[in-house]
Amino acid sequence: MSAGGPTRPVESPRMPSHDVLVIGAGLAGQRAALAAASAGATVGIVSKVHPVRSHSVAAAGGINAALNPEDSWESHAFDTVKGSDYLGDQDAIEIMCREAPDEILYLEHIGVTFHRNETGHLGTRAFGGASQARTYYVADITGQAILHVLYEQLMKHHERLERYEEWFTTDLLRDEHGHCSGAICRNLRDGRLQVFDAKSVILASGGAGQAFKPTTNGLIVTGDGIAQAYRIGAKLMDMEMVQYHPTTLAENGFLITEGARGEGAWLLNAAGERFMEKYAPNKLDLASRDVVSRAEQTEINEGRGFPDGTVALDITKVPRKRTLEALREIVNIGRDFAGVDITREPIHIRPGMHYIMGGVKTDSFGQTNIPGLYAAGEVACVSVHGGNRLGANSLLDTLIFGRRSGEHAAARAKTMPMPTTPASKLADVEANIAAIISRPAGGRRIAAIKEELGTTMNRYCAVFRDAEGLAKAHEIVRRLKQEAPLAAIDDRGSVFNQDVIAAIELGYMLDVAEAILVGAQERKESRGAQFRTDFPKRNDDEWLKHIDIVVNGGDVPQVEYSPVTITRWQPEERTY
């Protein structure tokens, strides 16, 4: 590392040690940190952005729970199992759906401003793939509202929760017993690297949407945690399952919440036909996301879409007053980013990359195959979403498994001595970063490599896939992996060197993209979000199993299989 910034601190670079270190401060990370602190652990929470910038902020529509007396957790669980195309692990799904009502009440009690019904009780809206209206919401800023309220709690409990805001994690650490013993992070503010020792580490750093272009995901969603865990030997699971959201803006891929259809909006093709009648005669526009996205893409591919490769979402079906009260955010998005008043005219949309169901394989306490390393939220794969996540189940996943990870990690920490990390590890990372910063000019630009990665993934690994396209994409990704370490950077400084961060993130995205492609090539059937035009049928006999991907110290992904846990719902044909 170069001379260092003017704010280079004098204190020991090995200061922070915590019972529980949480990496990522979106919903899963903040919930995990609060749970661990409540359980008596000392907690550090590290995030490469200020916590309220985390991408959970963009979750719009709501959060599912069977809280109404007429509803039941079993019904919620069945909808989730069916939504997952039977790839979800039913034990984990049962836990999530059973614990959901209490989690909603917890959120309500700490201050989330859930909208009410006419009697002043918590109000619900309908959502895709659900047999009941069980989605609790705050207008269409549900993620933002919950994220900001959790952050209020982090501020309230600051004596027990150290926040490290704008610290970028570069590496996870394993001790001589193979346990995860902390992380090395870089303070973006001054470029300082620091070892964080911890008895338990909870990864909660989100998905990897930026490996695709376009995507609904923010620029920070670069697969950091998935790649960091993968590199130290954690198993990844269900990586081929990439969700394309049915309603994203044509031009820039921005999200139009499923809440719009939940409130009554229709999908129409260019001829004005409500095409979902053909594909999902019962649930229509509120079928599972994979089903709706495939239907849209079929309409578009068969020439019934608009010339710009889209279909239309007609929100004028929703009473205008209701739209302005409950869908305010997409009114703004329509106005600011598409020049459309959605209360007056349909808006053009198409399926766009939104979420990865896969991630670091965990059990229902968030434990990975590496002792001491937990994962929760989009970075993890429990697997509650299987082949396809239901709308409004992701917030629930982050909170339930964030809390469970936090509690379990705190309990584990009680039995452990504080690990200490040899200074050589820090020196290695310092040398790596110094090497990036001093790369000679001449390679491709990082942004160019990232662009090629994103468009490749979106072209070959989207709603419809086949062996040929996936192989081609894999070949391109392998080439990009060769090119990435040569990519030159412009910024040689220490203070907010976003260039060096982008170089590291590019490496993470490439690792994740390769794992996705390996999984997608491996799964020779169509299930959930994975639709193989060369294997268009679901094949339970051969493929009712998870694909796990692991690199055992090397660089070549190895494929393993693990069984799907079935408790009470045997696979059936899936229609909506």
Partner: protein, 440 residues
């Protein structure tokens, strides 16, 4: 595609050089955002340009900057709109937000200012007891109402251009006070009175706002922070009858009384009225202190004794009618973005798509009367006793000294508070704009 030239304010604290402007020309669609243009420059020309950004869709609040002098988000400012703000052919200037120290290029230190102010307002719910087993039963209207301040994405645009904060860096400021309304307006909060008392008594609190509307213009989410501050004032002054030691509430009432009586502002009455009237003991020291100003004004002919003492203008019938209409309403109308009387708005055409110039509809124009019930009125007009109850969450309100008796007339010459100031209101350290101390 047209060419746009960005003139970006660069500052690298490690270089030893002063901040400077740097021009970059990009070829982009006119409806592309300023952020997209900056990212294009970063991608193709200079990766060292510092800007925080993530969602690109005006929800994460990272990319607050000043564009052609106006604060806002780079991601939801179109290039064409930004260019139209300046003279024909002039570059689009992009610089860091104001009122906060610059760390590098377009990145400012939000923690040093914005987040400290947020922490100042006890930014978490203090639960009304007993906490129900299930959810609190509260009117839908209240939850929709506080959604407007919940919609704040903490981007700092309002803080950037707050004029009061420029003059008084300790002013709690628009974003934090909007956040305070989110709790005061939440029926589940146990301590709205304590919050309001605290924010009224703080000389950098709700009465420090000067109604400049900058925050309303700046806010990309229609939170209208100034409107939230005015609501805090109305609830504090009118509903809870909090008479603050800064004379903020009396000063506001003096304006209203003045206009009601005269139709126009009669400044000679304004000051004594703000202290309870010419004959009130509180007014005398104020009047004496302001004598030099009065004498100067007389010497320059700006005011005559006759004008000052014998004000003849009387309010015309139209003004009286306005007062009659407003005061005759059964409940107070509040402006709120989410609570829309669609029909009203339709009449005004306020929701029509921006007329040609791409300007977002100002939130106040979209707003209409919400069906918001008045906040719980204190019994018999008496403010509830702000007794710090034991067993409550560790909120500053609980650590606050008991409310003092009516503040003694404080001569403005003597700025040392005669009121026992809460601990956290002590003079902030001279080296920062910190208004509070979360001991981190």
């Amino acid at each position: 595609m047209p060419d746009y030239t960005l003139r970006i304010r660069r500052f690298n604290p490690e270089s030893g050089d002063a901040a400077h402007w740097e021009d970059h020309t990009v070829e982009m669609q006119s409806h592309s955002s300023v952020l997209e243009a900056i990212l294009e420059v970063k991608a193709k020309v200079d990766g060292s340009i510092g800007i925080r950004c993530s969602c690109r869709a005006a929800i994460c609040g990272s990319c607050g900057v000043r564009i052609n002098g106006r604060p806002g988000l780079a991601c939801n400012t179109h290039l064409s709109e930004a260019a139209a703000r300046g003279a024909e052919g002039e570059p689009i200037t992009v610089e860091p937000m104001g009122n906060m120290p610059v760390i590098k290029d377009l990145i400012v230190d939000m923690d040093a200012v914005h987040w400290k102010k947020i922490r100042r307002v006890t930014p978490w719910l203090i639960n009304r007891e007993p906490v129900p087993e299930r959810e609190y039963i509260v009117p839908h209207e209240n939850m929709v109402d506080v959604t407007q301040s919940m919609a704040c994405i903490q981007c700092g645009a309002c803080v950037s251009d707050c004029l009061s904060m420029e003059v008084d860096p300790f002013f709690i400021g628009p974003a934090a006070l909007a956040k305070a309304y989110r709790f005061v307006g939440d029926p589940r909060d146990a301590e709205p009175y304590e919050r309001l008392k605290d924010l009224s008594e703080d000389e950098h609190g709700i009465y420090d706002c000067t109604h400049c509307f900058n925050c309303i213009d700046a806010c990309p989410k229609g939170v209208a922070p100034m409107s939230q501050i005015m609501r805090l004032r109305r609830i504090a002054g009118t509903d809870y009858e909090i008479e603050d030691r800064n004379n903020g509430h009396r000063h506001e009432q003096a304006f209203v009384k003045n206009i009601k009586r005269n139709g126009i502002l009669h400044e000679a009455d304004l000051l004594p009225d703000s202290y309870g009237g010419k004959l009130h003991p509180r007014a005398a020291p104020e009047l004496i202190e302001s004598m030099p100003t009065v004498i100067k004004a007389m010497a320059r002919g700006k005011v005559t004794p006759a004008k000052a003492l014998l004000h003849q203008h009387k309010a015309p019938a139209e003004v009286k009618q306005i007062f009659k209409t407003i005061e005759g309403r059964p409940k107070r109308d509040e402006l709120n973005l989410y609570v829309t009387g669609v029909e009203d708005a339709e009449e005004r055409g306020a929701l029509e798509h921006a007329s040609g110039n791409g300007e977002p509809t100002p939130p106040s124009a979209v707003a209409a009367a919400p069906p918001k019930p008045a906040p719980p009125a204190p019994a018999a007009g008496k403010p509830p006793a702000p007794a710090p109850a034991a067993g409550k969450p560790p909120a500053p309100a609980a650590a606050k000294p008991p409310a003092p008796p009516a503040p003694p007339p404080a001569p403005a010459a003597d700025k040392s508070p005669t009121f026992p100031a809460p601990e956290r209101l002590e003079s902030p350290p001279a080296d920062s704009a910190n208004t509070e101390s979360e001991s981190e």
